[in-house]
């Protein structure tokens, strides 16, 4: 089973093959998002006359919005359509020809991208703490927790994505479905507004979905806002959702392989 190491190495080579994209994503996108979020929240804090809102100061809010864009990329790993696009154009056939499980292959490539964005997140987090905060052992511990939870969340998101993307065996174009699923994950995950700003009853309801554990939980872990018990519970819930979606996507493939025609462009 050494092949997975070569898959990781190949994916890293692919990522590094596009240097411009790497730097634009890392520096450009992150800086712009932080600038917009900080300006917006500064205005909100000023208008409200408060220094703390729902447990966030302007400093922690900035950190939150530093983590969100890169953390979201880490969560969503490989690009949207990583499987459905291959089913559509026929390159998916290769996974049926090679003596391996395409579920394993795709999960590994997905997590390789996540780990890569994790590295970006770590650099950005350390940079932020050096410039605006403090960098003690505690920050490194929080960073490790955050990265660990983002990786587990990414694995869960990968299983959810595999399930959705396999639908393209029947419906050629599922782009809108994928966009909708991503929006739900981001909105109810706390990527746009921290979940503590949501009404109480809504917060209770969305706790029954996987969404808050995908983004909000890892961010809170990275910001040192979680107790050990909350982390253990969050971990178990994430793994539980992974098992459910992994089972569902395998069931879907068992049906789908009879409908799969192997056609492409």
């Amino acid at each position: 089973m050494r092949w997975w190491r070569f898959v990781i190495a190949s994916e890293v080579r692919k990522i590094l093959a596009f240097r411009a994209d790497f730097w634009v994503t890392f520096i450009g996108q992150t800086c712009i998002q932080i600038f917009i979020a900080r300006s917006l929240w500064l205005a909100i804090f000023e208008a409200s006359g408060k220094t703390v809102m729902e447990g966030y100061t302007i400093g922690t809010m900035t950190l939150y919005y530093l983590i969100v864009p890169i953390g979201s990329k880490m969560l969503t790993g490989e690009n949207m359509g990583f499987l459905s696009r291959e089913i559509y154009d026929g390159t998916f056939n290769r996974y049926l020809l090679y003596p391996l499980s395409f579920f394993h292959y795709k999960t590994i490539t997905f997590l390789t991208y996540s780990a890569f964005y994790g590295l970006q997140l770590a650099i950005a987090f350390i940079g932020y703490q050096l410039l605006f905060g403090q960098l003690t052992v505690n920050e490194f511990i929080h960073l490790s927790y955050g990265l660990f939870f983002f990786m587990i969340a990414s694995y869960t998101y990968c299983n959810i994505s595999l399930f959705i993307e396999l639908i393209s065996i029947w419906a050629d174009n599922i782009w809108s479905l994928m966009v909708m699923a991503r929006f739900l994950c981001f909105f109810f995950g706390g990527a746009y507004i921290p979940l503590s700003f949501f009404p109480g009853p809504l917060q209770s309801v969305i706790n029954f979905t996987p969404f808050p554990y995908l983004i909000s939980l890892p961010i809170n872990a990275m910001m040192g806002k979680l107790h050990f018990n909350e982390m253990i519970l969050g971990l178990l819930i994430l793994l539980g959702w992974s098992v459910i979606f992994s089972w569902l996507s395998r069931r879907l493939w068992n049906k789908g392989q009879y409908a799969y025609s192997g056609v492409g462009i």
Partner: protein, 308 residues
């Protein structure tokens, strides 16, 4: 040994009327169409044999190859290749089989070929020494050594096809499915691929099924051919016999002021037919020759085999 019994495959597709009206209508209701791509096909191929699979577009060639490669499930019927049911996708079977599709890339475009080969080495669990020997042998015979470190997407079509061939044969498969391996290649690249396949076949003796629209591929590589028409075999036998099947016919290529057309005429009626042509048309040119294999196969694909 490859054995197929009564293999059938039907696809469900949807038909849409052309134009905006048709598109709007299709939003609510689509016409379902069942296409029978294969209709009870049966045949056997022995180890070391190379068979040409010929048919018009949409005749069912690629569907048959995809089923035997394990990509697609059949609707009914049986097939065993090296003792395995292909669509069960046993890893042991997949380690001994290869599919090369001329129109679809299977190696990774953003990586140099050697990186893809290293990955395939691990996927197929190829031993170091065998891997090294195979890379050298394949790169030398395909004359592609200098391109192995270039990103695949930056190579020419012919070079990419050679890389595909290398990738597919790296694990020295016992069964090879070649689907249009020379499509889009220039004449010298076609020749190189054919030459390579001939040498590979004689050295390693795999079961090979070759589909191609280029008759040169078939003539040079396949002693046996199977002709498929609308999902059914209309001929399965030696290529040499095909020519004899129409040995009593001559092909006339007639050029008049208006057009050029071709006719198959029995030898016994040749005199009568040519004089008839000269009296009823203003003939500019008349060429009488034996039908080529291409002519015969085209005739079989269009009209079937004459029983008389």
């Amino acid at each position: 040994m490859l054995e197929v019994k009564n293999l059938t495959k039907s696809f469900t597709t949807f038909r849409k009327e052309p134009g905006l009206k048709g598109s709007l209508k299709a939003l609510f209701r689509r016409e379902k169409v069942i296409k029978n791509a294969l209709k009870s096909v049966s045949f056997k191929i022995d180890q070391g044999e190379i068979v040409g699979l010929i048919g018009a577009n949409g005749a069912g060639k690629t569907t048959l190859v995809k089923i035997l490669a394990g990509i697609v499930h059949p609707s009914s019927g049986e097939a065993t290749v090296l003792g395995f049911k292909p669509w069960e996708r046993d890893n042991e079977y997949r380690r001994q089989m290869s599919l090369i599709m001329g129109q679809k890339a299977q190696v990774w475009w953003d990586l140099p070929a050697l990186d893809s080969f290293l990955l395939l080495k691990e996927i197929y669990q190829i031993e170091d020494s065998l891997y090294k020997n195979n890379i050298e042998f394949l790169a030398d015979t395909l004359m592609i050594k200098d391109q192995l470190k270039t990103q695949v997407r930056k190579l020419s079509l012919g070079e990419r096809m050679k890389i595909e061939l290398m990738a597919a044969l790296l694990h020295r498969p016992k069964v090879i499915f070649l689907d249009e391996p020379t499509i889009g290649l220039d004449i010298s690249a076609q020749k190189a691929v054919r030459e390579f396949m001939r040498n590979y076949q004689s050295e390693f003796k795999p079961i090979t099924i070759l589909t191609s629209h280029y008759m040169e591929d078939i003539k040079e590589l396949c002693p046996r051919i199977m002709i498929i028409k609308e999902g059914q075999f209309v001929y399965d036998g030696a290529l040499s016999k095909v020519q004899k099947m129409m040995g009593d016919e001559k092909r006339l290529t007639v050029t008049t002021k208006e057009k050029t057309f071709k006719l198959n005429v029995p030898r016994s009626e040749l005199g009568e037919k040519t004089s008839e042509l000269f009296t009823s048309n203003e003939i500019l040119d008349l060429n009488i020759h034996d039908p080529s294999i291409e002519d015969i196969i085209e005739s079989i694909m269009n009209y079937g085999i004459k029983t008389s």
